[in-house]
């Protein structure tokens, strides 16, 4: 079936005539339900304007609850009322039109000019607001009508809904809505476009309400409390108020009440109708519920994050979804998700029974509601039957072609998996289901980076796709393997983290020897059966020559056969930047990785090779061999890493932060004390006025700057000394150097020296009487007094150090809190501004109006996720490929 498509939605003002025409019922009674418990005729919960009670039928369309969408009713107002939303517009129009003939106060020439201007803007589908503003400005200047020579009076806008006419003698006269309406009615149709309005859709006088449309009850349903009492919607409450005052107004007027009373009631009616539209008008008190809570009226329903637009129309709650905590499972594939059985039994997939799948589905149905079973069947007569303990066998027997079965989620089904905040498209990817025992979603740790997930209690959502098209799209566009490359920077975002990097680092660092059995253990669950030639033999204790394989060799096994690649790892000492020559293959850090013919010739595997965001090897495989091969590689190295780290074991504890006594002394003397002495020296120089100010700085700033530099260096020095004593065998050093987790700074702070604390990039200077804490003397500039923490976390901080550390820590805390809200709004704005841009078939980038934003996307039409780190074509590689191939042949 082809669905009809809405072509467009036209906006306009409802004329009183239209409101009456679309009304299904006049509303007169301010009550809802009668004593019999049924809705009152001509009341606010009228059976003609929709039904919300089960069992009743709509008197207009005959539909039952849920079928009848509801119909509008109307209230005939005793007197016209200004629409608050248009009060300002009405004021502008009043000021711009003649009080007698109603024409716009513009000469013929100006009139035509502005009309043209508006026409042009409309043609461009652009905003007419600017031209209209000019019209109002120009017209309001004229105090004599160019057409009927009537002398105009000044109009004053009395917020929110009043208008006062002031004549030359400064005498004021209040314009009642009736007067206003009369004036607006006089404006000829030809002048109306000058206000940016279209007389067919919006006559100015329609901004004055004479007939109030009443929304259907379905839009303001009442709820029945447990006590059996009915509680009406806020809108209904407001409408009750309006009808009551409206009636009183009518009664008083008919009874010939004095003008003062009538005006008071008019004002009151205006108030109720104003707050019915918007209960947050500045300058008037909001209408309140009996309990004192301000009522939620029209505007409040629409606006804001939880309002109709953002809360119910742009974002909706959905069925066929599940949410639970995630936990890691390195044994499943990267594009799988482990789904708890309980969830799999709840979420279903609709299948049409055909001749081809009849038997398979019958088998499913035969299991009833036991796991790979079904929950509902829809028989060929379109009757929906729940699968129960009692009827499943019968249903399985009856099952025939043309039935529809809502079967449980099974292994291999494709689902969408998502973690909020969904900051980029990789926050929602398609995974294949793996039904498992337990209560958590299981996720391969290599896919954590795109979701930015960890397992400290994170929850994720899963959505089961319901149509074949959706499943096809998910598989082709959203599958994990399709999204290994980030569209942000064109490098892999899926890759090894933490232990995967550690594992492979340990495996490939130096020359690790594995005898056959061990080597095979390493390749456990990786589909490789050929170990290749052993690297050599060693003599066992019993004197036999035992062949062995190296860790580098084993890693080479999982690489594609023909692969060639060279790069520098994160362990690289940046020799070139320091002006030295890169030792390449002879690098003492093994930072230079060379892969030849699918073998790891030299170098150690670290974050640069397989880590997420960096992953050179993953990138190369993805580009040359495709997504399937890349996926396989990630799976393989993950298993290899786990197998390796499982064998050797890897842990980090408090004793790993131990530094020998002489090391501690060295840190104290060479780093901490030395720096503190230098700081004191600086202070002395400052006091003696020997310090030279840096250009553009005051003397005091210079001193602070130099002290900061000195103390910053102290911590780095301490870290360097600590590193020397700890060595690469230390778990934390290994993790930091290989890029698995943490940094040398973290370790420095734990083991050697925490260093200077700062607030807003300066030393901590807050406090009273020129000191940070009462422990120090006033005006003390020494390191210690301004937040230099000489202890390490392991040694423990002194009381003052602890306090000043907390002062610095607070800034970081506040920073994160502010940043999340700011960047959230920033992204929302960006998305809103750019969401409609699209590459057209001709390669241009355009927005919805068809305006060209770029003639060629990014000036060269290249997709960032397909370019190699921003570089489109790797010319070196092509050249060397072509030249070498020919040399070979």
């Amino acid at each position: 079936m082809r669905l009809k498509r809405i072509k467009g939605i036209k906006f306009g003002l409802l004329s009183p005539k239209e409101i009456r025409k679309m009304s299904a019922s006049k509303i007169i009674t301010p009550d809802t339900y009668g004593e019999d418990g049924f809705p009152i005729e001509l009341g606010l919960v009228n059976q003609r304007i929709g039904v919300i009670d089960p069992g009743l039928r709509c008197k207009t369309c005959g539909g039952r609850m849920g079928e009848c969408p509801g119909h509008f009713g109307h209230i005939e107002l005793a007197a016209p009322i200004i629409h608050v939303g248009y009060a300002k517009m009405i004021y502008r129009i009043l000021a711009a039109t003649c009080r007698r003939c109603g024409k716009v106060l513009l000469g013929e020439e100006a009139r035509v000019k502005f009309l043209d201007g508006i026409e042009q803007q409309k043609e461009k589908q652009a905003d007419v607001g600017y031209v209209v503003k000019q019209v109002f400005k120009e017209a309001a200047k004229n105090d004599v009508c160019p057409f009927c020579d009537e002398i105009q009076k000044r109009i004053k806008y009395d917020k929110p809904t009043g208008y006062i006419e002031i004549d030359k003698e400064d005498k004021e006269r209040r314009l009642m809505p009736t007067d206003v309406r009369e004036r607006l009615e006089k404006i000829p149709d030809d002048d109306i476009p000058l206000f940016g309005m279209d007389p067919k859709n919006a006559r100015p006088e329609w901004m004055i309400i004479t007939v109030l449309p009443v929304p259907p009850v379905t839009a303001r349903p009442s709820i029945t409390l447990e006590s059996g009492q009915r509680s009406e919607d806020d809108l209904t409450h407001k409408l009750v108020d309006i009808i009551r005052i409206n009636q009183r107004f009518m009664e008083n007027r008919d009874a010939g009440a004095p003008q003062l009373i009538i005006e008071d009631l008019w004002e009151l009616l205006q108030y109720h109708i104003s707050t019915y539209f918007n209960n947050e008008i500045p300058s008037i008190p909001p209408a309140r519920h009996r309990s004192g809570r301000p009522l939620k009226t029209m505007t409040q329903r629409l606006k804001g994050k939880e309002g109709r637009f953002r809360g119910s129309l742009s974002g909706k709650r959905v069925n066929f979804s599940a949410r639970t905590v995630i936990s890691p499972d390195p044994e499943i594939e990267i594009d799988e998700v482990g789904v708890p059985k309980d969830i799999a039994k709840e979420l279903t997939i609709n299948v049409n029974v055909t001749e081809r799948n009849l038997e398979a589905i019958r088998e499913t149905l035969k299991r009833g509601s036991k796991h790979p079973g079904a929950n509902y069947v829809r028989r060929s007569d379109d009757k929906k039957v729940k699968v129960t303990e009692t009827n499943y066998e019968l249903l399985a027997e009856e099952l025939g072609v043309g039935w529809k079965v809502e079967r449980h989620l099974q292994d291999g089904d494709i689902v969408l998996f998502n973690r909020q905040p969904s900051l980029h498209r990789l926050s929602i990817m398609a995974h294949y289901v793996r039904v498992m025992p337990g209560r958590t979603f299981r996720l391969n740790p290599t896919v954590c980076p795109p979701y930015n997930a960890d397992y400290d209690g994170d929850e994720m959502n899963m959505h089961v796709l319901q149509t074949e098209e959706a499943r096809a799209e998910a598989k082709i566009l959203m599958a994990v393997k399709r999204n290994i490359m980030s569209p942000r920077f064109g490098r892999p975002i899926i890759g090894g983290i933490h232990d995967y990097i550690t594992g492979l680092f340990i495996l490939t660092w130096g020359e690790k020897r594995f005898e056959k059995e061990k080597a095979q253990d390493m390749l456990h669950r990786i589909n490789i059966h050929d170990l290749g030639e052993p690297a050599g033999t060693f003599e066992s204790s019993s004197g036999i020559q035992v062949p062995y394989w190296t860790g580098k060799q084993l890693f080479g096994r999982i690489l594609p056969k023909q692969m060639e690649l060279q790069f520098r790892g994160v362990v690289c000492g940046k020799c070139i930047e320091r002006g030295e020559k890169c030792k390449k293959e002879n690098c003492p850090r093994e930072a230079y990785v060379v892969i030849k013919e699918g073998n790891l010739v030299c170098g150690v595997i670290d974050e640069m090779a397989i880590g997420s965001f960096k992953g050179k090897i993953i990138e190369q495989i993805f580009r040359l061999y495709g997504e399937d091969e890349a996926k396989k590689f990630i799976n393989d190295f993950a298993r290899l890493a786990i197998n390796c780290i499982k064998q050797s074991g890897f842990s980090f504890g408090i004793s790993d932060e131990d530094i020998p006594k002489e090391g501690k002394a060295q840190i104290r003397e060479e780093a901490v004390y030395a720096a503190e002495h230098k700081v004191e020296e600086l202070i002395r120089a400052y006091d003696a006025e020997e310090l030279e100010a840096l250009p553009g700085r005051s003397l005091e700033e210079t001193l602070e700057l130099l002290i900061m530099q000195e103390l910053g260096r102290a911590r780095d020095d301490a870290g360097d000394i600590a590193e020397r004593y700890l060595g690469i065998e230390n778990a934390a050093v290994l993790m930091a150097k290989s890029g698995a987790r943490g940094s040398m700074l973290n370790l420095t702070q734990m083991a050697a020296c925490v260093g200077q604390q700062s607030v807003r990039g300066e030393r901590i200077n807050r406090g009273y009487q020129g000191r940070t804490l009462p422990h120090f003397k006033s005006g003390d500039r020494r390191a210690e007094a301004h937040g230099f923490v000489r202890a390490s976390f392991k040694d423990g901080l002194t009381a003052t150090e602890y306090f000043l550390h907390a002062v610095g820590g607070r800034e970081a805390l506040v920073d994160t809190a502010v940043r999340t809200s700011q960047s959230g709004y920033f992204q929302r704005r960006l998305i809103n501004a750019l969401q409609d841009l699209e590459v057209k078939n001709d390669g241009t980038v355009r927005e919805t109006r068809g305006t060209v934003v770029q003639f060629k996307y990014g000036d060269d039409g290249v997709d960032p996720s397909k370019s190699e780190c921003g570089k489109v074509v790797d010319i070196d590689e092509i050249i060397s490929d072509v030249i070498e191939v020919d040399v070979g042949s």
Binding site: Q822, S823, N832, Q854
Partner: protein
Amino acid sequence: MEIKTAAEELKKSGVDEEIVELIKEEFISVALATEIEEQLEMQVGQPYVDDIILMFGREVESEELNLGRIGREVNKIKVPVKIKNELRQKLRVVKTKLSKEKLDAILAAVEQKYEEAQVEPREAVGIVAAQSIGEPGTQMTMRTFHYAGVGAIYITLGLPRIIEIVDARKKLSTPTMKVKLVSEFASERNKAEKIAMEIEETHIRDIAKVKAAIEDMSVWIVLNAKELKRRYIMSEEVEQTIQDIGTALLVEVVGGGKLRIHVKDKSYHDLLRLEAKVSTTLVKGIGGIKRALVRRDPSGEYVLYTEGSALKKVLKVDGVDSGRTTTNNINEISDVLGIEAARNAIIEEMAGTLDEQGLDVDPRHITLIADTMTMDGEVKQIGRHGIAGEKASVLSRAAFEVTVDNLLEAAIHGETDALKGVTENVIVGQPIKLGTGAIELRARK
């Protein structure tokens, strides 16, 4: 082009006359061609060689691959100029190993790679760009201030800076300029310093003590000779400036660097006002440039960094290299240099800020944002008062911000929402006309 005029052109661009004469020859042998090319290459630089050869309309008839030939072949393939240039560079290195077949193979491969990297039509590049800039936003610092160089000028960085750029703010929190100088001034510190003083705001209070004396109802100005010298200001200039403050003022030069302004028939209040006015009067420099510091670039040239920005005026200063001087105020660039310059400035500033934070974002995303902001010929904000507020769709605007006002406006204007964008179709529950939603599939009969 006429060979004669072309030859003139060549001479002008600094090519030896000898070579030009050679090119003018009727017949060019292969050996000669190679010779000419090599000479040209040395003198003009690689990218122009082909143009020059082509300019003369000479085709060297030979199977042999020389640089010109390679260049021409490279020119034929359909890839951006940037790639072509790189390709030419790299092919030169391996020139000797090339044959026609190999060259063709390389060119074909390059072309194919480029082709493969093209975006798919109907790709929702806007959303991807927005996400690519927005997502790293969570990782950026909020720390507003940072130093440029050692102890110099504060500049806003990180998320606040990015937001500032996207907001197209007129008033920046930390406007700054990087003023490059023409070579004559850029090589010597003293000369650069002089220009810095030319630019930097100098108020009278910076070079003199200003004091109002009640006893004789006058304002005394005591000039600081050291400062005057440092800022290259003559005391006569100061006198003139003070004289220019008001015609009714009587300025007396007392001597010894002292000036006295007589105030007649005025109140004490007026005296104080005059004192304040005199001390804040600009003697020298450009209003808005609070400080100008001279720094040496890694390249060895002296550059001025300023606090405050006034591009238009700074560009007019003698010795300032107007081609390389920039400000971080995008609106100023737009006003002074035009919208294309503003676009480039947005790209530069954004890329610079992201780079400083160590975040990797493909330049194409940034370019798209810059182009969206500048496509109408003026710099527009990303948000309610700019792009998002001027969208064609009522529903999209309503769903973004100021929901009700947008709906009310739409009603009186009788707007029609054509439901072409993303939000609108989400709202009415229809497939979105982007990406796979843009095409329809029909079963083949």
